[in-house]
C-alpha cells in the first residue's frame, strides 16, 4: 500500500463528486501527417467542449502531458486561455487517467470549476518530421548509464522482459496472449474510427514476425497520430450539461519505479495498488463492472492488468482471456474501441480509454455497444509498467 497515513474514508469523500461531461477525439485520427500535435490538441478540446456544451472561456484548469518541457504552458497559450490551475503530470500513457483524479481534487477543493484534459501526439508522423523525436537523456541519469549501453529501444524491449517472467512463472502462453489481439481486433471491426479492421486469427498473431521475443508484431500496439480530450466538472454543474454525466465513483494512482531493473515484481503492475484504491473508494467489486478499458500497449499489458485489478487471480490471466472471453459476445467486454492494438495509439494512449468508457456508459457506441453498461473500469499504464491510474466510472 502507499506510504502515508490517510485512510480510505478520506478518499470516499471524493466519490461521485465530479463527472466527465465531455469526451471526444480530434477530427482525424490514424495517420494525420498534415496536422501538428498542437492542432490535434485543439481539435480534440473543441470537440470535447462541444460534447459538454461548455465554452472554452469557462475552462479554468488545464491538464496535459505533452509536448515539451512545460506542457500545460504551451497548451494554455496555444488554446488562448489563462487558466488558474495547471497540471503537467506526465508519467506516460497513464497520465490522463491520473489527471482525472487530480482534477477531481482541484474541483472538490473549490480551486476550479471546469477541467480540460487534452492530448495530441504524432507518434507516426513525428518520425518523418525534421528535428522531431525524443530529447537526449541527461548522460548522468540512471537509464543513460545502466540501460542504454545494453540497448533499450522503447517500451517493447522492456515490457518483453516482464512478459517473459510471467510466462516462466505462471505458464502463460503465446496463444493466450494472442487471444487478446484477436478479441481486440473483433471490437475494432465494429468501430468505424479504428485503424485496423481486417479480421485476424490466433495463427496470424503467432506467425507475425518477432519484434522482441516473446512479442510478435501483432502483440504490439499501433503507432499513430491522434488527439483526445475530456472535460471534468462538479457533479452539481454536470446536471446542466448537454449530455448524461459520467460520474467518477472511484479513483486511484500508483507509481512504483522508473527503470525496469528497479521494478519490484516483474509479474505485477502498480494497478494492484491503484485498483483496490479505486474499487474501495467507489464501493464496487470487480465482478460488478460491465465494461473494462485498460491500456494495451502490448497484449501482455492488458493480461497482467486484469490480474492486478482483481478480475482474476494473479497468474491466471492467460486462462481468463481464453476462448474469446474478452471479444464481442464474450462475458468480459474489454477494450471495446479496438484498443491501442487496433484502434489508435499515438504514443500515450490513456485519454482514449476515458473517451470510450464515457461513450459506453452513455450508450453511444452503436454496433459495439455493451448493452446495459452502467459501471466501467478504466486503467491507464505508463512508463515501463511504472505508473497506473484506475477509475471506476458510473452512468448517472
Amino acid at each position: 500500500m502507499p506510504s502515508g497515513s490517510l485512510s480510505n474514508s478520506d478518499r470516499r469523500r471524493l466519490s461521485g463528486k465530479v463527472a466527465i461531461v465531455g469526451a471526444d477525439e480530434s477530427d482525424e485520427i490514424g495517420i494525420v501527417a498534415h496536422k501538428s500535435t498542437l492542432e490535434l490538441h485543439a481539435e480534440a478540446a473543441r470537440n470535447a467542449l462541444a460534447d459538454a456544451g461548455i465554452p472554452m472561456s469557462e475552462v479554468d484548469g488545464i491538464f496535459t502531458a505533452g509536448p515539451g518541457w512545460s506542457p500545460s504552458l504551451q497548451i494554455a497559450e496555444y488554446l488562448g486561455i489563462r487558466p488558474r490551475y495547471t497540471d503537467s503530470t506526465t508519467v506516460g500513457g497513464s497520465s490522463f487517467v491520473i489527471h482525472v483524479e487530480h482534477a477531481a481534487a482541484a474541483i472538490e477543493a473549490g480551486l476550479i470549476d471546469v477541467a480540460l484534459i487534452t492530448h495530441g501526439q504524432s507518434g507516426h508522423s513525428d518520425r518523418r518530421r525534421p528535428g522531431a523525436g525524443r530529447p537526449p537523456l541527461d548522460p548522468w541519469f540512471p537509464a543513460a548509464q545502466f540501460e542504454m549501453p545494453y540497448h533499450v529501444g522503447g517500451p517493447a524491449t522492456v515490457y518483453a522482459l516482464a512478459c517473459m517472467r510471467h510466462m516462466h512463472q505462471f505458464g502463460t502462453t503465446h496463444e493466450q496472449l494472442a487471444e487478446i489481439a484477436v478479441a481486440t481486433r473483433k471490437w475494432a471491426m465494429l468501430n468505424p474510427k479504428a485503424m485496423m479492421r481486417d479480421p485476424i486469427t490466433i495463427d496470424d498473431v503467432l506467425s507475425s514476425r518477432w519484434i522482441t521475443y516473446p512479442f510478435h508484431l501483432l502483440d504490439c500496439c499501433l503507432v499513430t497520430d491522434a488527439g483526445g480530450a475530456v472535460v471534468v466538472t462538479s457533479a452539481r454543474r454536470a446536471k446542466g450539461c448537454r449530455k448524461q454525466p459520467v460520474l467518477v465513483l472511484g479513483s486511484g494512482e500508483a507509481t512504483t519505479h522508473q527503470t525496469i531493473a528497479s521494478m519490484p515484481d516483474l509479474t505485477d503492475t502498480p494497478a494492484s495498488i491503484s485498483g483496490p484504491l479505486a474499487f474501495q473508494m467507489a464501493g464496487v467489486r470487480p465482478q460488478e463492472i460491465d465494461v473494462t478499458e485498460v491500456y494495451d500497449s502490448f497484449t501482455y499489458t492488458a493480461l497482467v492488468t486484469l490480474e492486478a485489478l482483481g478480475f482474476c487471480k494473479k497468474g491466471e490471466g492467460g486462462p481468463f482471456v481464453s476462448g474469446g472471453r474478452t471479444a464481442p459476445g464474450g462475458d468480459f467486454p474489454l477494450n471495446t474501441n479496438g484498443g491501442g492494438l487496433s484502434y489508435t495509439h499515438p504514443g500515450m494512449y490513456g485519454i482514449f480509454l476515458l473517451i470510450e468508457a464515457v461513450r459506453q456508459l452513455r450508450g453511444e457506441c452503436g454496433d459495439r455497444q455493451v448493452s446495459g453498461a452502467r459501471l466501467a473500469c478504466v486503467n491507464g499504464t505508463g512508463g515501463t509498467l511504472s505508473s497506473t491510474g484506475t477509475l471506476i466510472l458510473g452512468a448517472e
Binding site: 543513460a144 548509464q145 545502466f146 549501453p149 545494453y150 518477432w210 522482441t212 521475443y213 516473446p214 516483474l266
Partner: protein, 141 residues
C-alpha cells in the same frame, strides 16, 4: 537513404557512480552497501533507496547470479545494433540481491538455449579507454 551510422551509447560515469565504473574497469563488480540495512542496492546513489540512510560503503560482489528475465531483440531500435540482431537483453539477479539490466553473451539468441533462473556470471566487455561494460554468460556446468 544511407544507413545512419551512430555508435552505441557509452556510459558517462557521474560522481555518484564512479566507483562502480572503476570496479568494472578492473573487471570487478563493486556495489554500494547500506550499513544499517545490511544489504546491497543498485543503481549506485550516495544513499540507500530502501531506508534513505546515507551510511553507505562499497563492497565487491561475486558476479554470480541468475537470469530473472530475458528478451530477444529482433529489431535494432538504435543504429548501433543494426548489425547484431538478434541479441539478448536480460535482467540478472545477483546472488547479493540487486538486479542489473544487461546483455547475455556466449549463448544462442534462442529460447531453447535460455531460460529464466538459469545461472550466469559476469564478464566484462571493454568498450572504451574508461569503460568496461558488465555482461553475463551462462555458467558452464
Amino acid at each position: 537513404m544511407p544507413q545512419e551510422q551512430r555508435p552505441k551509447p557509452v556510459p558517462t560515469p557521474s560522481p555518484e557512480t564512479r566507483r562502480y565504473w572503476e570496479g568494472c574497469k578492473s573487471h570487478e563488480l563493486w556495489l554500494p552497501f547500506c550499513r544499517p540495512c545490511q544489504s546491497f542496492f543498485f543503481y549506485p546513489r550516495r544513499f540507500c533507496p530502501r531506508c534513505f540512510g546515507w551510511d553507505i560503503e562499497w563492497r565487491r560482489v561475486s558476479g554470480r547470479g541468475t537470469v530473472y528475465s530475458y528478451a530477444i531483440q529482433y529489431r535494432a531500435f538504435h543504429p548501433g545494433w543494426s548489425d547484431e540482431t538478434p541479441y539478448v537483453t536480460a535482467l540478472v539477479e545477483l546472488e547479493e540481491g540487486p538486479r542489473l539490466y544487461t546483455n547475455l553473451v556466449g549463448v544462442e539468441p534462442d529460447p531453447k538455449s535460455i531460460h529464466c533462473d538459469m545461472p550466469v556470471e559476469v564478464v566484462f566487455e571493454e568498450i572504451s579507454e574508461e569503460i568496461s561494460l558488465p555482461k553475463f554468460r551462462p555458467v558452464s556446468t
